[in-house]
């Protein structure tokens, strides 16, 4: 449940009219066939002062906050934003909110940005999404389970456990965004791929959300990785590129002897699971994340001491850059 986009535009126009005009024009535009971006802003501070004016002008606490049962357990509020077509628009939306509230949203320890993408990724792909986001981020953090615990962690109806990546809670999904599909024709033993742009997403309510994003790069990386993997899963236009990405990430992790961690429980997908299994899986997830994080930071520290560069952090960033470049190239080529 979220406040309509037009209401946000009306309120935010006061402090950033130019940016709002740009956002209004681009909010539904999908970039290079990437999936649209939904955002939830979790404010981890007891002082709600920066948001008071915004919430009042959007319709009051009952309308803006109370209808939503979901939030980070440590957050004093969770602001659910309407989805937009691209990472670029999502970042612009948050920059407008920064100007209105007067507090930084990026790189702020009191703000967790939850990036929501359509489609439910299976466990292995959820692991690739988690590790791609985590290792590709501009800030590396060590997490405690409490940092990622939400009001849905042990909900009897929509238990999501404690994870970096969680599924939707069954709520409505805005489907009116472009979805790039394809068809193939064969002529003289040569196959040609044709892009088909559909005007609706092929999902009912399914979403995969990444918690604890904190920067523009995080939003861009999550959008890229989620697009590649959901297209790989659904047979969309980026299926081949997405499968290549999944294979390359798996191989990269193998080279660092970390591929076994892809079998960890990265996303909880069994509503109504035994509570004991939930606790056990929470522990297995955080252990896997910590091991990968410790390995990456340890390697970076040792290489840095020798005055060199390289290692898994560089390799992941290079890979994300390569796939972003290739996606843009292919989107213009056809």
């Amino acid at each position: 449940m979220y406040v309509p986009f037009n209401k946000f535009l009306e309120v935010l126009e006061v402090t950033c009219p130019g940016e709002i005009e740009e956002l209004a024009g681009s909010c539904l535009v999908v970039d290079h066939g990437c999936v649209p971006v939904g955002l939830k802003v979790q404010y981890i501070s007891s002082n709600q002062e920066p948001f008071v004016g915004l919430i009042e002008n959007l319709g009051g606490s009952a309308e803006v906050l109370m209808k939503n049962r979901y939030k980070n357990k440590r957050a004093s509020l969770c602001l659910v934003l309407p989805p937009v077509g691209s990472a670029r628009s999502a970042i612009l939306f948050l920059e407008c909110l920064e100007k209105y509230t007067g507090i930084p949203f990026f790189g702020n320890r009191d703000i967790q940005i939850q990036v929501c993408s359509p489609g439910r990724l299976g466990n292995r792909y959820a692991g690739i999404l988690t590790l791609g986001f985590y290792l590709g981020s501009d800030t590396l953090r060590t997490y405690e389970l409490g940092d990622l615990s939400t009001t849905f962690a042990f909900d009897p109806n929509v238990a999501r456990g404690i994870r970096m990546v969680i599924y939707d809670g069954g709520g409505a999904l805005v489907k009116e965004f472009e979805w790039w599909d394809f068809s193939t024709t064969s002529r003289f033993f040569k196959k040609t791929k044709h892009r088909i742009v559909r005007q609706q997403l092929p999902f009912a309510h399914e979403r995969t959300d990444v918690l604890a994003c904190s920067s523009r790069k995080d939003i861009e990386n999550v959008n890229l990785i989620a697009t590649l993997l959901v297209h790989a899963m659904m047979g969309g236009y980026w299926q081949e590129l997405g499968m290549d990405f999944a294979n390359d990430m798996t191989n990269l992790l193998s080279q660092h002897e970390l591929a076994g961690h892809l079998d960890a429980p990265w996303v909880h997908d069994d509503d109504g699971a035994d509570i004991r299994n939930l606790y056990l899986d929470n522990g297995r997830f955080i252990d896997a994340l910590r091991e990968v994080g410790a390995y990456a930071l340890d390697e970076a520290a040792r290489i840095g001491k020798r005055g060199g560069t390289g290692g898994i952090l560089y390799e992941v960033s290079d890979m994300l850059r390569k796939y972003r470049t290739e996606m843009v190239r292919q989107s213009y080529a056809h």
């Binding site: 320890r109 981020s137 501009d138 800030t139 590396l140 953090r141 060590t142 790069k217 910590r290 994080g293 410790a294 390995y295 930071l297 340890d298 970076a300 520290a301 040792r302 840095g304 560069t309 952090l313 560089y314 960033s317």
Partner: protein, 47 residues
């Protein structure tokens, strides 16, 4: 604070949040052609 340890190496302590070294600004390189300070030739004493 996390303690990371690889067999055969000393454990290192990792803070809660650190910038990814991939995105840290590189050192500003020195000038390609540094200005040479002219040196004064020693004056030869007449014999």
């Amino acid at each position: 604070m996390l303690v990371a340890h690889q067999p055969g190496s000393q454990p290192i302590k990792i803070p809660e949040a650190i910038p990814n070294p991939v995105f840290e600004p590189s050192r500003t390189p020195g000038p390609a052609n540094p200005v040479r300070t002219p040196t004064r030739e020693p004056v030869k004493e007449p014999a």
